[in-house]
Point group: C2
Chain length 436, copies 2
Amino acid sequence: MALFSKIIPEILPQTDNWKGTEKFLRSVVDILIKYIREENVHESKVIDFHHPAEMFKLIDLKIPDKPQNLQTILKACEETLRYGVRTGHPRFFNQISCGLDLVSLAGEWLTATVNTNMFTYEISPVFILMENAVMRRMWETIGWDPNTSDGVFAPGGAISNLYAFILARHNLFPNGKQEGLKELPKLCAFTSEDSHYSIKRASAICGIGTNYCYPIRTDSAGKMIPEELEKKIMEAKKEGMPVTWNPHKLMGALLQCSACLVRKDGLLMQCNKMTADYLFMQDKFYDVTYDTGDKVIQCGRHNDVFKLWLMWKSKGMEGYRDQVNYLMDLAAYFTKRIKETEGYELVLDSPEFLNICFWYVPKKLRKLSPEERKEKLGKVAPAIKGKMMERGSTMVAYQPRHGTPNFFRLIISNQAIKREDLDFLIKEIVDIGESL
Amino acid sequence: MALFSKIIPEILPQTDNWKGTEKFLRSVVDILIKYIREENVHESKVIDFHHPAEMFKLIDLKIPDKPQNLQTILKACEETLRYGVRTGHPRFFNQISCGLDLVSLAGEWLTATVNTNMFTYEISPVFILMENAVMRRMWETIGWDPNTSDGVFAPGGAISNLYAFILARHNLFPNGKQEGLKELPKLCAFTSEDSHYSIKRASAICGIGTNYCYPIRTDSAGKMIPEELEKKIMEAKKEGMPVTWNPHKLMGALLQCSACLVRKDGLLMQCNKMTADYLFMQDKFYDVTYDTGDKVIQCGRHNDVFKLWLMWKSKGMEGYRDQVNYLMDLAAYFTKRIKETEGYELVLDSPEFLNICFWYVPKKLRKLSPEERKEKLGKVAPAIKGKMMERGSTMVAYQPRHGTPNFFRLIISNQAIKREDLDFLIKEIVDIGESL
């Protein structure tokens, strides 16, 4: 039988036609570099928005029967970029907009190229040790003893929270792993009423039930009120619940990656080990304590560490410190500016980190009675947001909280942001808000 | 305060020094393209193996205090590649070695560059629709009705299996989500004794307990024996278990990605919805039925679809068919060759897919009594594998099963493999095996 690449000559890898292969890859990179350059033009559009029905017409998304040539593939890449959201744009202020760090990007390109899996030292010798080195720096930073700490990189914070749940459960009731929850006392969890929804979801997944994931009241700054936690624990004890439970104790989230750090070495392995002897053989010729596969709830696991390691290496601890200081400075600047600008109101008078929550109250709402104002104000942020996206000029998230009307939630986390971008946002919101 | 990139001039993005930025990215690509070219030289090494203690000396893994310049970063990339495993090499036959498809690679480079998140149409309009289009093709392929089917991309098959567990549980006992397992009848699961260990792990995570994940006996070909399943179900019913449970029913895994396909539209949403109104607002200006965030157990979710979509588009249905046929042809070739070669024994006489399990019995073991032979044979595969890795010439996995001695498990899934690579493997195993 002929070599596969001869049957469909356009399909790669074409080791017999290395020039064609290299040309294709370099063409892709040209497209990507052009995209990055355009994304960093502050005045350019953040999004070219289209509703789903139009989008289906603009891009041919169907999987075809026949193979397509590489020109079609390059065109598909360009179209995909054209209609996507430019999340690294310095005027994209929506959730999870930490900007596009190019060293981290280089790390991710390399990660994709080596295309390996994190389960054993055998197939990932460098990256397994790298995870170890990065977690060591994290433990040190939060003041844990590296000799008795453990941890794992998970695909996102929600899965890290799920880890925290099953580890806490296993720590208290190790026999639950074999026997299931039916044999255990009734379990419950306590969490801030403002905590991430993945906490509640984790309690559903692991069989506790969302009704037994008790929300604890918070103060106006969103901090859990300790007395309320104590009260709830007493109530639960009266109802026969034995456990205190606090996933936050086990959690650690550092900048731009998700690592679940565990203070008690060995717990991860005890909790998740299933002894798959066809994958994690103990009779290997190297030290198998570096194999992480039996610690995690995934099997194949994406290499999430390299991009972080490379970026952190490039910045060092000092570079990160300066970066956070720069962002804190921008946040202070923005807060000062909206305090000075008519129509803006802060949700919290002194925001404490890089989240700034605020309303814009259009002129015609300012003279209304409190009830009328509240009702109309709730519709302002969604309307401004929709208009922003149609213009494509900028993006910022909004949300309600405990019955307050929708407010904007600005997150300043992109190091490419300049003060002028914040000035632009303030002006744009006024401009759209007054035109409604 | 000065612009961040001026404080630490080497830190990117340097929009004020675009030339430097572009030069850095192109240097990274030069390194990656060189790597891909070398990886595809059939005679080159698969791995340059070092034990952990040596590896710590070869690469400086520590996170530094001071920022590092870009030359250091490029050097770190080169070192990482030098000491890693070349999983795309045509002589890497270990687990999960599907080779490096360069269209898929281009897709992953683009994915990294746009750096977006899959939770809403708002921030991922193109990719959300793309997931839809790809799943549509999957449903059609397995004969499901696209109008009543659903699904989600998960970070790997193990998490897909966890989805299957919680969906099956929710389908039977929707109140478990709120009430927890304590209020439900005792649950159990049935799975093949040879099934992936993530099934057992999923039963631990979701609170059923591994003791109630009953293994069903398989025949010599590794297929579940239906009568054994029936027997176990009857036994469980006698013990008061109400449920049949079959995660496989809900599961679908297509080539080179992990998608959990669900036949019952709406179930994913009902099961996992937590109504995080600060993320998944219903008062948006576009059709929010495309927002997937509340269906999944992650919050931030990596875009896994683009690399698959681009590759599938490039190959079409026909290209994939030809690719699988080519690999099946290679598997038949390998099976024929080891049947002809002295010392080789197949675990199954007629392998049915792309997994081929076999022993190599060195000359000096061939005349031993069955007991002696069995005992010594178990040590042969690990010894050969260790030597292979030290030589760096090739890699293939080994494992035991139901008390048989360790055997090699070859997986033919890399389209870059040629017949000569299989000939090489056969010769290398004999060569090392006889030198032990």
